[in-house]
Symmetry: C2
Subunit: 236 residues, 2 copies
DNA sequence: AAGTGGTCTAGACCACAGT
DNA sequence: CTGTGGTCTAGACCACTTC
């Protein structure tokens, strides 16, 4: 039992939230109930709950209880804020078109170099995806995943079309945080075509490195965003 | 004694960090030392320390201790990542030119409307500032601050040129977090001139709402960034 | 009044860092 | 080895929300 108890509680609750056993907007069991369920004390349960607050899965209110966050966790960043209304972007909402991949590919793209420490000549699992909100293309994304410890990844389709959920359920890999560089650039021809904007229009470029629950295992994404109708918003 | 003990400990340590009593890169007293100093138990002290970690003031290592974060807290977001080297942007580094203000002004700019709930016809304290890194203009910023509870703000110069530090020291207002919307837009003439780029070049536009330790008191900024040489990077 | 989360105590054992 | 932070227990009292 090397994994701390509060981490186990945290993971268990997270799984029940993402799988829908605990519904959005609903209440979690009270701290005392969780204490008996996991045979732990309140301080331990509270540590787990506080981690879930920090990760954006739940909110808490004093005399009330722990509420499952609506629109699920935003991964610490990134949600799309709409013109007048709020549209939440996640692998579950909107549409995602896989334009290329998954396939094995070397990472020839030098823009990731500053983010990567060691790995160089390895093969990566590669995706090209286009994400739409309300049928408007808003994100064009290239994803690179180190081809380690992911047996049969390319052969099997993604669970519910979600990469993160696939990693969590099939490989017990939890994407926990990320760092990113943000720039404004002029869209090249391919990007402009896909995002249905004029070439050289300003687009947001996000260069991302995702940290996972597996030590040393990171995901990389290069994302081009059309922000004419939707802005990227972030918190904290 | 309505303020929780761990908040008092947190505030005390924060003050000693920002004022330089605990030096950057140095070690804080151990948890047990803090226990005796504040007459509290380890759980209480740890709660204060964990808050400081969350706010970016310190980092902690297992067998070692609590280290005061170098280059001070990054406010959860925003640091400028350079060409080859890392440059940290804060009110202490780089240069900041005040182009206009502080002055009283109504907020006529409608772009903030989505961020503001109630306030409408009030006067705001207004700034126009240009920030340079390595003598290159990289950020052009408009700041609006509600003119409540800030006696003599306009009359007195900023402490060490830092708005946040001034709010903290003179008014005990701590800027704790923010939300922002990020877009890529084409620079207008004024912005392009100030940032020394061509008109219609892609620039990053950040619309920010800062949350403070005072309930209901927020700061607002509209920022245009030249990301040709420096990218905005964010964490988590 | 009952149930909830917020704070706090006074211990304990462990794993990691530096000597 | 000592000292540090990481985890955990078994209680306690309080403030808030709901009924």
């Amino acid at each position: 039992m090397k994994i701390p108890l509060y981490r186990q509680i945290q993971a268990s609750l997270k799984e029940k939230i993402t799988s829908g056993i605990y519904e959005e907007g609903g209440l979690l069991p009270s701290e005392n109930d969780l204490c008996t369920e996991f045979n732990a004390t309140r301080m331990t349960v509270r540590q787990a709950l506080n981690e879930l607050v920090r990760e954006g899965y739940i909110t808490r209110q004093h005399g009330k209880g722990s509420t499952v966050s609506a629109s699920r966790k935003s991964l610490g960043l990134l949600s799309l804020k709409g013109w007048t209304e709020v549209v939440v972007a996640s692998d579950r909402h909107g549409k995602t078109l896989v334009l290329e991949g998954p396939m094995l590919k070397k990472m020839q793209n030098p823009i990731f170099r500053p983010l990567i420490d060691t790995e160089s000549d390895e093969d990566f699992i590669f995706f090209k995806r286009l994400r739409l909100v309300e049928d408007l293309p808003v994100m064009y994304e290239h994803t690179y995943i180190p081809n380690d410890n992911l047996p049969n990844f390319i052969e099997e389709p993604l669970l519910e079309g979600s990469l993160f959920r696939t990693l969590l359920i099939r490989y017990q890999i939890d994407v926990q945080s990320m760092t990113q560089e943000v720039r404004a650039i002029a869209a090249d021809k391919e990007t402009a075509n896909l995002l249905k904007i004029k070439t050289k229009s300003p687009v947001l470029h996000l260069l991302r490195k995702y940290k996972t629950s597996v030590e040393g295992f990171f995901l990389y994404s290069s994302i081009y965003c059309n922000t004419e109708k939707f802005a990227i918003s972030s918190f904290n």
